[in-house]
């Protein structure tokens, strides 16, 4: 059970129970749907992008604790960032979850609160839960019409 607290940390559970920036956005100029066919998780990411900068972001949908918390914390961490900064952050986040242990240490500063998800690495099947919102965000930024998928 020791690893469990690494996965379900208080900060994650807090975002699961009270997701931030949750709900539709009327004036979104980018949006995308995401789907994890493995567990049926679905979410939509809404963006207000102005001059290459994320002015506002919201999400909606239903998913497990990890995917909901990840989406919620993602919205907090990308507001005010440029496209390039968001892409770089996703890259670091992805590396933390899938790369070797050393990557985690190098990237922890830039990731800020998102390091709380580093425990997901020990649960490979759950990595997709943590990255669904980010894949969807990526699709929204690129104005993709096909729904994003973790597959």
């Amino acid at each position: 059970m020791s690893d469990l607290r690494d996965l379900y940390q208080d900060l994650i559970l807090d975002h699961t129970k009270r997701p931030r920036n949750f709900g539709q956005m009327e004036n979104a100029n980018c949006r995308a749907d995401g789907h994890n066919p493995l567990c049926g998780d679905k979410l939509t990411v809404f963006l207000d992008v102005d001059n290459g900068v994320v002015r506002d972001v919201r999400f909606q949908g239903s998913g497990c604790a990890i995917s909901t918390a990840s989406a919620s914390m993602m919205t907090e961490s990308i507001k005010g960032k440029t496209r390039a900064e968001v892409e770089a952050l996703f890259e670091k986040f992805h590396q933390m979850l899938t790369g070797p242990q050393s990557v985690e240490l190098e990237t922890s500063d830039e990731l800020g609160k998102l390091v709380v998800f580093s425990g997901v690495k020990e649960f490979p099947i759950r990595v997709k839960c943590a990255t669904l919102a980010w894949h969807t965000l990526n699709a929204a930024l690129k104005h993709q019409t096909e729904p994003a998928s973790t597959e």
């Binding site: 690893d3 469990l4 559970l13 567990c39 049926g40 497990c64 759950r126």
Partner: protein
């Protein structure tokens, strides 16, 4: 192979309701391990069941002593292999009470069996506007092959609705049968809900309209004594791996009269009587449908699995598993926030549930940390999830090697889930 008297406890032989589970568990090497520091509690039997050493050893022995290709060699090993392979066909025939052994076709699994009927039987007969009738609780393997045919032939897939308990609504079923219906394809036991469908009655009604019926027996075969002649179904499919046998082997049963009218599904060796570049004459059933070298060792393993299950007896297995399911249903229901999906009067071995405020995937992960293996997801039955308006469920499914103590571990595990999310 143990005799019945060895496997059943003295008390069981009198009452026929409980097994000597301690002794049975001893036959399953995998169950002895610890997972995440706790004794493994394996409750994912509807996905696949574990293998007794009798099955593992039969396959190993076959490869060590008798293995060769079948139906073609004149040498000793080939004859031995052929005999062992064909003996299992007879074993399967008796196990499901088929009239003849040539009605038993070895396939990769239930999915391939369903596809063989879709493409070998129905495809040449299906025309635009025709209908195929399935139920609302089917596994994707009994939906998609029919959908593919419907798309190709401009036919229509129709669905028998299910009620809130997870049972087929029989009146709706009767209403849906009509002169355009070409096949009814229905599961014997639902993998997502545990419902046992009234197959005998469903077949009788379909036959009044001269409509053949395929029964998907993947979930039924490990739990119920199946008599295809009593059911009077036209096709019955199942997989070996859910019956304590190996993966990669399954069975399609078909009435001989129907099988004989069907086109081969795949062409190749062993399915022919003679081949010239001008014309090939097909072999007789069942060989017509077994092109290429089959999973010979898989068939041997399946035979050992059937022997094992029959030594315990399906009546004793059903009675014991029913008791376990009733106990689990009662205990899990006591947990506040639990919703059980599938409350059919006739049910087998599946407990599908949701926990308020907790996603099934989180339930699955937290239980796994306690050594408890369940399934979390849509169980390849997305339409069932839609019907009950849930994205997924957690599913505990039982086998005769499970115990009440393991159910208690599940209940404690679910309480631990609640604690994490409290």
């Amino acid at each position: 192979m143990k005799g019945l008297s060895e496997v059943l406890s003295p008390e069981t032989r009198r009452r026929k309701t409980s097994l000597d589970v301690v002794r049975i568990r001893d036959d399953f090497p995998i169950l002895k391990q610890q997972v995440n520091g706790r004794p493994l509690v394996y409750l994912d039997n509807a996905a696949t069941s574990q293998k007794p050493r009798q099955v593992i050893e039969a396959i190993s022995r076959f490869y060590s002593e008798d293995y060769s290709n079948i139906h073609r060699g004149v040498h000793t090993l080939s004859q031995r292999s052929t005999q062992s392979y064909e003996a299992v066909r007879v074993k399967v025939q008796k196990f499901i009470h088929a009239a003849e052994d040539r009605e038993i076709i070895f396939v990769r699994g239930t999915t391939e069996g369903n596809n063989l009927v879709a493409f070998g039987y129905l495809r040449p007969r299906l025309q635009a506007g025709d209908e195929i009738l399935i139920s609302g609780m089917e596994h994707h393997s009994n939906i998609v092959p029919w959908q593919m045919l419907c798309e190709e032939k401009k036919a229509r897939l129709r669905v028998i609705p299910i009620n809130d308990e997870g049972e087929v609504i029989f009146e709706e079923y009767e209403r849906l049968l009509n002169s355009k219906t070409r096949l009814v394809a229905v599961t014997h036991v639902s993998n997502a809900l545990g419902t046992i469908n009234p197959i005998r009655r469903m077949v009788a009604v379909a036959h009044r309209h001269q409509i053949p019926v395929l029964v998907d027996g993947a979930q039924a075969i490990p739990h119920l004594s199946v008599d295809v002649q009593a059911l009077d179904c036209d096709f019955y499919t199942f997989s070996g791996h859910k019956l304590y046998g190996p993966t990669g082997i399954g069975v399609l049963y078909g009435k001989a009269g129907l099988l004989e009218t069907m086109s081969p599904f795949q062409g190749g060796g062993d399915m022919i009587a003679s081949v010239t570049f001008e014309k090939t004459t097909y072999n007789k059933i069942p060989h017509k449908f077994e092109a290429g070298t089959p999973d010979i060792a898989g068939v041997i393993g399946l035979g050992a699995a059937i022997d094992y299950v029959q030594a315990i007896g399906l009546a004793a297995i059903s009675a014991y598993e029913d008791e376990l399911l009733a106990y689990a249903t009662r205990e899990v229901s006591k947990i506040v926030g639990v919703r059980i999906l599938g409350r059919a009067k006739e049910k087998a071995s599946v407990l599908s549930f949701t926990l308020e405020g907790v996603h099934p995937h989180d339930i699955g992960t937290i239980l796994d940390q306690q050594g408890i293996a369940i399934r979390a997801g849509h169980h390849c039955a997305q339409p069932v999830m839609d019907r009950f308006k849930v994205p997924a469920t957690a599913r505990a499914s039982f086998a005769f090697y499970n115990t009440k103590e393991e159910v208690d571990a599940l209940v404690n595990g679910i309480r631990a889930v609640m604690e994490v999310f409290s």
